[in-house]
Symmetry: C2
Subunit: 239 residues, 2 copies
Amino acid sequence: MELPRVLEQLWGIEGPARPGPKPTFQLSDIGAAAVELADAGGLAAVSMSKVAAALGFTTMSLYRYVDSKDDLYTVMLEYAFGDAPALPGDTWRERIVAWSEAFRDALRAHPWILQVPITDPPLSPRQLSWLEAGLLAFHDTPLGATEKLSAMLLLNVYVRGVFQMTVHQFTETPEESAAATQRYTDRLRLLATEDRFPAIAGGLRQPEDFDVDFDADGFADGLETVLDGIQARIDKKQR
Amino acid sequence: MELPRVLEQLWGIEGPARPGPKPTFQLSDIGAAAVELADAGGLAAVSMSKVAAALGFTTMSLYRYVDSKDDLYTVMLEYAFGDAPALPGDTWRERIVAWSEAFRDALRAHPWILQVPITDPPLSPRQLSWLEAGLLAFHDTPLGATEKLSAMLLLNVYVRGVFQMTVHQFTETPEESAAATQRYTDRLRLLATEDRFPAIAGGLRQPEDFDVDFDADGFADGLETVLDGIQARIDKKQR
DNA sequence: GCACACTGTGTGCGCCATACGCAGACCATA
DNA sequence: TATGGTCTGCGTATGGCGCACACAGTGTGC
């Protein structure tokens, strides 16, 4: 059972002492530098050479630490997410709400996370610890392991999906963001005419309805829908 | 109100007749060629030069038709999705199940869709027609326009999220896919030990439980959860 | 003390998106 | 029918990217 090098490093699995010079950096240095670049300029601002330059390194030296750009992404995600949050609350609903809000906050702090191409299922420590925390939140429900996992998948994609629609609020100035929303609504009004798309046009008719921007309330309301679905599954199980 | 050129073209908004040579291609030719490349080799196989070469064109000529790579993606999505599906059924649940399965089938046919970076909210004809079809499926519910939109967002991200987990089944051979699943389970077993991650480890203990691969049943079961949540919202509204 | 694995580096390859300028094709108008 | 202006398609070029590879120096375990 051999693990990719980046996973061994992230998990702190050390091989025996080796000859040769001591490494100058740690993965955490690289992760911090890359995250800083991404926070400032989006994921596109992260390249092997830019990260290396930020560390006072040459490009190729980075490959002594990560085997590929994908591995760099793995490291970045690991350091962008903090440790899994504590989930206080007496009911699974309270705990899961806390989990979802913590996840949303992590995305707010590092909006580029949504741009990281997803290749493999999660195996790094913090990714798993977030999953673990979520699964534990269901401990007093009758859900089976697969059902809990399925619920976590649903929560994960819900938070990501909603955040995707509001991400411009965190990457642009308020003026730009408002202008983008206005432009989108205008275009929608122009193209989604009453005869071709009555449902969309109908939604656009009420000024305050059809709010394409989800604010905090929109997040909470949609989350309630998801939680109600999970509740229904719990009820079925208990019946 | 000026529209990006690619949208004008996709919507068939023609300007006045213009001097100069007739264009050799149509956007549909470019879309078809790019989709073919992506179907065969994933989104990474799509580059401006490869698409141009597939059409017997030079690279730069493509820029006479699309202003940027992002626009090419827009065109690709437009031609990868067929027209919005007919949604038979007497209840909103039946219709929405049909919508979700049609969406999943579209992703199956073109798994690279998940790799397309999402920049702007949808404005192209077929994207809107899929949204319209979904909104119409709720016509006999008491949901408001924003609630319907929120429900469609939820369905959209659910289907995408579940498909993400099973996408390797459609991009790899069955042997590769099985090997990948086995490798992932092994690694998870190695790293998620009983003391650190009891919930994950507990799920791994039951052999058939914790099925990381969602098959057709997994898709339907999770969808039921989502629909139950929407149902709960409808019930609240009617009460 | 010594072999050798490992570190950081320089060079360079092939690919990418795309800016720019040019020659010729074609339509609207005179 | 002549002509002006504009659009098409193309060639060239630029700056960036990820990464392969060979090399020199370094420090550990034997």
